[in-house]
Amino acid sequence: MTIEAWYIIITGALIAASTAILGSFLVLRKMAMLGDAISHAVLPGIVVAFLLSGERDSTLLLIGAAFSGLLASLLIELLHRKARLQEDASIGVSFTWLFAMGVLLISAYTGQVDLDQECVLYGEIAYVPLDLMAFGNTYLPRPLLVAALLFLIVLLYLLFSFKGLKLMSFNPDFAQSLGIRTQVWHFTFMAMVSLTTVLAFEIVGAILIVALLVVPAATAFLWTRALIPMIVLAVFIGVLSSFGGYGLASVLKGSIAGAMVSVAGLLFFSSLLIKLLTPKKN
């Protein structure tokens, strides 16, 4: 394989590993669709930050997008609690609105924003090797470094928050009864999901983010009964999807992101099938 291929695969694998970790908790907390909503809702933030800063790698971009991710979850809360709209509809109304706003902004400023509608959906992972950054006297793809940094952050977060996340996902009421500040924990977790979404957005696009958050974790949950094995397996499935996806995309000459999701989906459905066909113990 060429070095370019490796760059793409490793970037995909790092992002898949980060999302698999966070996604495991999203799945266990039954908040998968909230992740879906956030991944759509960061779009207007990204576009506005683009317009203001005029470049793509800027902290402003990060802040803008992370802000709109949190804004989306606040909007959902507001519609649900204060306007008394049922929860599923609050999610649906909020994210479609924000996403439509993002698309309109993109089309209104076509010349100025280096984003197009398709890139929003399935990213530009194929261009990873083109976006090089000087690193001493070697050149590495910038998205690869971003993905590596993201993975590091998520890993550290997992190490320090493992017990808290476990407790919060299993029994939030009990956590609160222990005097643990569940609101803070919840907010931090949502902020991590937003951050991951934003960093991964331009590399893999909105849809792949949702898929990578949910599908490997769901597949791993089918196979395991303990939390650490579940997370490890989810990460493994994510990485595997990155490899398989690259291969499939080169054969079909199609979108790498789409192929990665398809491989993840294939793993999910075969797991489902195997689980159904093998008789259960107990």
Binding site: L28, K30, F160, S161, K163, G164, K166, L167, S169, F170, N171, D173, F174, A175, Q176, S177, L178, G179, I180, R181, F221, T224, R225, A226, L227, P229, M230, N282
Partner: protein, 277 residues
Amino acid sequence: MKNKDINKVPSLEVHNLAASYNRMPVLWDIDFQIPQGVLTGIVGPNGSGKTTLLRNIMGLMKADSGYVKIFGEDLNKVRERVSYVPQRESVDWTFPASVREVVEMGRYRNANLMRRLSKTDKEKVNIALEKVGMLEYANRQISQLSGGQQQRVFLARSLAQDADLYLMDEPFVGVDAATEEAILEVLSELRNEGKTVVIVHHDLQTAYQYFNWIILLNTRLVAAGPKEEVFLQENLREAYGGRLTILSKLSNLIAKSEFPVREKGFKETEGSGDGQS
């Protein structure tokens, strides 16, 4: 304060507590005290607000009025002395965790959440597992437990907290006779150690037999006290004889017309609010 006075402090004082969901009142000015060292049953029909009462005591929802004192203090000051066991159905038992992991949660505190558990913590977990007879299942995943075993796990987690006041929501639901007896034994043991146990319980038949203090609830407090004084035909009929129509009508009126559940600026705090009109 002298030692004798400390013993006189009620383990739990609920003062004029009122609570609602989306403005619909479900608890009307609940007011009772429980002395230390009794085994208490909170008894009432379905939907009578037993769970809501426990959640309010544990500060899991915001009361409309009134306050709760535990050993004469605010909950936050004595949190380490209180253990709460939620209703078994309130969690998803397919969650990927082992029995030991769940019981260890009883030792979690803000301070040690980012660190490993200490040796003493782990010992307390083992003792708790032993007491409920789940030590040999310690490494089993909770998705593989029977209903009765799940209750035992929750009980063990509570024991591991090593508290002085235990609040348990329906620990006898879904268990067989043997487990029921085993759980009761553990609870009696706690009481013999001078601890206070408060149990939400469904079954009138066994309530009299199990508890020595009883609280009869049906959105309002019907009676509270030693079981002999509370367990009267008249009280039981009142508790199980349906809601008071006036209360129901008023509840609906409040929920429907955006009335405040409690008047603004008239939040009762300790020591105030007993004024004349």
